[in-house]
Each structure stands twice: as structure tokens, then as C-alpha cells.
């Protein structure tokens, strides 16, 4: 995550050099493209509302809320997929997109929450507070939103430097957010859990990959530690 340490001067230098190095390419070309792609589902909600691209159907409030919710889930999965994918492929440039994906997760969760707050509940404070306190699946979703807000607020390079080692500890909450998100989805469906099950499976694979990775590394380190005294 050194991206921000590139100075304007260095980029200009790279551009004038004509052969853009990978990081600059990522920053100047791929990042804007990926950003627009990430924004597309939200734009589609707006154009569908005006029936330019599609329709929101008989219950538009529910449709908007569901779309933002499902994209929030997809983005937490995408964010969590970055590290395992980078380790598998060796494509280290992937990590340059991790913050963007994380912030889009926050964006879609926030939009999902605002749709519920404004369009569904109509800003009726008593009903909102009652729902957050009394409906477990809403409580879970709300906790995930609070965690995400903390992560989004500390996502800048400056905050990362200031928090030092505590930054990583705090940002491990991403795993908890993934679990809370799937749990929230699972609890709100009436009966057919086949779709939540898909997300639960993906999440299990993504978190499982990390467990396996750390186990393998522990073993390697231990083996290395054992081999040293034998050699001496």
C-alpha cells in the first residue's frame, strides 16, 4: 500500500519516460476503469428508476434495497478475495485495488442502509430504533455498518501511519464484517436459503484459505527452526 507515496513528479517522470511502469499503469489507467465498473450497479439503480435501462418492478423500494445489499455482499467477497488471489498468482498489483474494493463495500452498505432508513422506514425514528434494537438481523447489519464506518474512516495512508500496528488489528474486522453480512442475509430470507448459502460458501473458502495459508507458514517456520540446530 505504498501507492500514495508516489509523488506527482515521479508520475510525470514515468509518463515522460513513455514506458509506464506497472504501478503507474495501475494507477492511471486501471484504477479509473475499475472504479467506474464498481460504480455501475449503483448507476444502474438510478437509470432503472427512470426506466432507461430496465425496471425496478412492483416494489421499487425493496428492489433498490436488495440490490445495494447484494452488491455490498459481493464487494466484501471481492475485497476478501484480493489477498488469497495475490498469494496464488503472485500478482502483487492486485493489492493496489484492495482499498477501493473495501471502500465500495462501505458505499454499498451505506446506500443499503440509507434506502432502508429513508425509503423503507420513511425516517420514522421510533420504528427505526425499535428495528435496530429488536430485530436481530437488523442489529447484525447495523453492527457491520458501524465497523465498516470505522474502517472507511481509517483507510487513508495518514491514518494508517498514525495507527501503526493497531491499524492491522482494526482492519482484521473485515473478516467479522464478512461473517455479519452473510448472517444478516441468511436471517432475513423467509425460507429459501440457497442464495445465502452460496455467499456463505464463498466466505468460508476465502477465510479458510487464510487459515490454511497461516498453518502452512507456521509449519515452514517451525521446520526451519528445527532444522537449524541439526545443521549446527
Amino acid at each position: 500500500m505504498r501507492l500514495r507515496t508516489f509523488t506527482k513528479a515521479s508520475i510525470c517522470a514515468a509518463t515522460t519516460n513513455k514506458s509506464l511502469d506497472t504501478l503507474t499503469q495501475v494507477r492511471r489507467i486501471w484504477k479509473p476503469i475499475v472504479f467506474l465498473l464498481c460504480l455501475a450497479p449503483a448507476l444502474l439503480v438510478v437509470t432503472d428508476a427512470f426506466e432507461l435501462t430496465g425496471r425496478l418492478g412492483a416494489n421499487p423500494v425493496e428492489e433498490i434495497q436488495d440490490r445495494f445489499g447484494i452488491w455490498a455482499l459481493r464487494f466484501i467477497m471481492i475485497t476478501l478475495a484480493v489477498t488469497p488471489l495475490r498469494r496464488m498468482t503472485g500478482w502483487n498489483w492486485l493489492s493496489r485495488f484492495r482499498r477501493m474494493f473495501g471502500l465500495f463495500t462501505f458505499f454499498y452498505v451505506l446506500m443499503h442502509f440509507l434506502t432502508w432508513l429513508i425509503l423503507d422506514q420513511g425516517l420514522l425514528l421510533s420504528a427505526i430504533l425499535e428495528d435496530i434494537v429488536e430485530r436481530p438481523f437488523i442489529t447484525i447489519g447495523f453492527v457491520a455498518l458501524l465497523l465498516l464506518t470505522a474502517l472507511a474512516a481509517t483507510s487513508t495512508n495518514a491514518m494508517r501511519r498514525r495507527l501503526g500496528r493497531r491499524w492491522q488489528t482494526l482492519h482484521n474486522a473485515t473478516y467479522a464484517i464478512g461473517i455479519l453480512g452473510v448472517w444478516h442475509y441468511w436471517w432475513q430470507v423467509k425460507k429459501d436459503v440457497s442464495e445465502p448459502l452460496i455467499y456463505a460458501t464463498i466466505l468460508a473458502v476465502l477465510l479458510g484459505a487464510r487459515v490454511i495459508w497461516s498453518q502452512v507458514h507456521k509449519k515452514r517456520r517451525r521446520r526451519a527452526a528445527r532444522q537449524k540446530p541439526q545443521q549446527s
Binding site: 418492478g57 416494489n59 421499487p60 433498490i64 425509503l119 423503507d120 420514522l124 432475513q188
Partner: protein, 319 residues
């Protein structure tokens, strides 16, 4: 109070292309409504599309609400019918090629008249009435729907239940070839519902066979479904193939699936929340993006007609 002012959306405007009935379909309407018997062999060669067929001889009902009905499109593209999938638009998408006819209904149990009846014969003795009812889904959305149907009370009386008959149980068609949602095993098929005899002989419930003056669309439960306006929508069992008079409270599908969340009675009640969401307010479909939810009424506003059925019953425990 006769309700039907010129309807906001006339059926003829909604299904323009379907109104040009071909001769075969027209003949079939005659068979359905007029009661002239058309030998099944005469129509089996070509399967006519009965969708959009107009029903005739439909009288108005004083039980109808004067609230504006939802559009034909809303009613037919947004509903639950798990036999055709669990998504709200699944029934519309997956029931298009479902041809309900020929259809038989088996009547059995504690009644003097029992047997298996062809759909047309089953409904023939009864008057077709338009009943514009509020429909409140357990998922906290609602519609106003202009059904066409026959009085369930009349149907029950017609089969002469014996003194042992305390309940009426219904079952939906369970055909995994024609109903793609059944393969997914989201519920324990066949779909089952039931009412007490007192509920079934109340004047409000109908067996609906039409919508907006036309034959009932497949996705809404063709050819025949139950409508009980003071209960949550899931009590309105669709595609009925069996009707049984029983002495014991029958099993009902959602109660079997999640007894803590869905009871046998399932009366609309703003004071008893679903364990996972509030039932105090409801979203009226078609009210627009920025409309607020409206308060849910006790017994969905049909308390004058049905509250007496539950005197002395703890509605908090018998949800």
C-alpha cells in the same frame, strides 16, 4: 355500496393483444361460463391459451372495498407461489407455459357429498362475484385486488359437511414436471392450508377463479385458489386440487416449515410482530418510491365481519 366506478385500468386496456381471442378459446369460455359441455376430445388437439379470457355473468359484491385496485401488472408480476420459484417475479416468469386445464378437484372427508370433480363442474353451481379485497402479505406489503370468485361458504354448504367436520383442508397441485419450483424443495410439498369450519362458512372467503374480469392468471393460482382477506396472504392457497373436511386441525405448510413464525390462524394483526420483522405497518405496492408505509389494520380491516370468530382466543399465542 356498489363499488366499480369505471376502473382505473380496464382489463381490455391491459391485455390488448390477448383480447383477440381465437375461436377455440372463445368456445372454451362458453364451456367454462355458460356451462355448455364441450367434449374434452374436441379441444385436446390444439391447446388453446386460456389466458386473458373474459369471464361473463360476474356480479358485484357489497364486500368489495372502494380503494383503488393495484394494476394488473403489479398483481401478476409480484407475488409468491413457491411452486414456481421463491423470487417475487418467478411465478410470472415460470408459470407462462403452465396449462392448468384439464383440472380436477377431489372433495373428501366428513361430508355427505364427496368425489372428484372437473374444475368446470366444480364451480358451475355457484355465482361468480367480483370481490375487491385488500391483500396483506406476511412480508409486510399489501395490494388491493379485484378477484372474481365463488363464495367458499356456498361451496362448503354444497358438499354438506357432517357434524364431525371441524376444519377444511386444502392442497395444491404437486407436479414437479409442470412446476419448476417444486424441484428446489423450498417447502414440504404439496402446499397445504386450512381453515376452521366457522372461518370457511364466513361470507368473506372466496375460491377465486378470476382477476380483473378475466380467468385467473397461472401465476396467481389458476384455475382456482383460496382468498381469505383478513389473513396473511400465504393462507390463500393456489392451484387447489384437494379439499378435505377433517375433525382435526390440518397441517399447514408454513407452520410446518417454521412454527415459531407462522401459525395456523395467521390473522393479520398489527400488534403481533413476526419474530424477525414488525407487522405494524405495510408497504402498499404501487404507491411509489417515496410513499411512506401505512398502518396495518387489525384483521386487515375486516374486523366487523370476522372478529367474533376469535372471541376468547388469545391472538398473541394463536398467531
Amino acid at each position: 355500496m356498489l363499488i366499480k366506478k369505471p376502473a382505473d385500468i380496464r382489463p381490455s386496456e391491459i391485455t390488448s393483444e390477448q383480447n383477440y381471442l381465437d375461436r377455440r378459446t372463445f368456445m372454451r369460455v362458453g364451456a367454462l361460463v355458460g356451462g355448455s359441455i364441450l367434449a374434452p376430445s374436441a379441444i385436446s388437439a390444439v391447446v388453446p391459451d386460456r389466458r386473458g379470457t373474459k369471464l361473463t355473468g360476474v356480479s358485484k359484491s357489497s364486500f368489495s372495498t372502494d380503494e383503488a385496485p393495484n394494476s394488473f401488472e403489479d398483481i401478476t408480476t409480484y407475488n409468491n407461489y413457491y411452486e414456481f420459484g421463491t423470487g417475487k417475479s418467478d411465478p410470472h416468469e415460470n408459470a407462462q407455459n403452465f396449462d392448468p386445464l384439464p383440472w380436477t378437484i377431489k372433495v373428501e372427508g366428513h361430508a355427505e357429498k364427496t368425489g372428484t370433480f372437473d374444475f368446470e363442474d366444480f364451480i358451475k353451481p355457484f355465482d361468480l362475484e367480483e370481490r375487491i379485497y385488500r391483500m396483506r402479505c406476511v412480508e409486510a406489503w399489501s395490494m388491493v385486488i379485484p378477484w372474481v370468485g365463488i363464495s367458499l361458504a356456498e361451496v362448503v354448504k354444497h358438499f354438506k359437511p357432517t357434524s364431525q367436520a371441524k376444519y377444511v383442508a386444502f392442497e395444491t397441485l404437486n407436479d414437479r414436471k409442470r412446476m419448476p419450483g417444486i424441484r428446489r424443495g423450498s417447502l414440504d410439498w404439496p402446499y397445504r392450508e386450512g381453515l376452521t369450519i366457522a372461518e370457511a362458512t364466513n361470507p368473506l372467503p372466496i375460491l377465486a377463479v378470476g382477476l380483473y374480469g378475466q380467468v385467473l392468471p397461472n401465476q396467481n393460482g389458476a384455475p382456482i385458489r383460496l382468498v381469505v382477506p383478513w389473513k396473511y396472504g400465504f393462507k390463500g392457497i393456489k392451484g387447489i386440487v384437494r379439499m378435505r373436511f377433517t375433525d382435526k386441525q390440518p397441517l399447514t405448510s408454513w407452520n410446518m416449515a417454521q412454527a415459531r413464525e407462522y401459525g395456523f390462524y395467521a390473522n393479520v394483526n398489527p400488534n403481533v410482530d413476526h419474530p424477525r420483522w414488525s407487522q405494524a405497518r405495510e408497504r402498499r405496492i404501487g404507491s411509489g418510491l417515496f410513499a411512506s408505509k401505512q398502518p396495518t389494520l387489525m384483521f386487515n380491516g375486516y374486523g366487523d365481519e370476522v372478529a367474533h370468530l376469535y372471541k376468547g382466543l388469545d391472538l398473541r399465542r394463536n398467531y
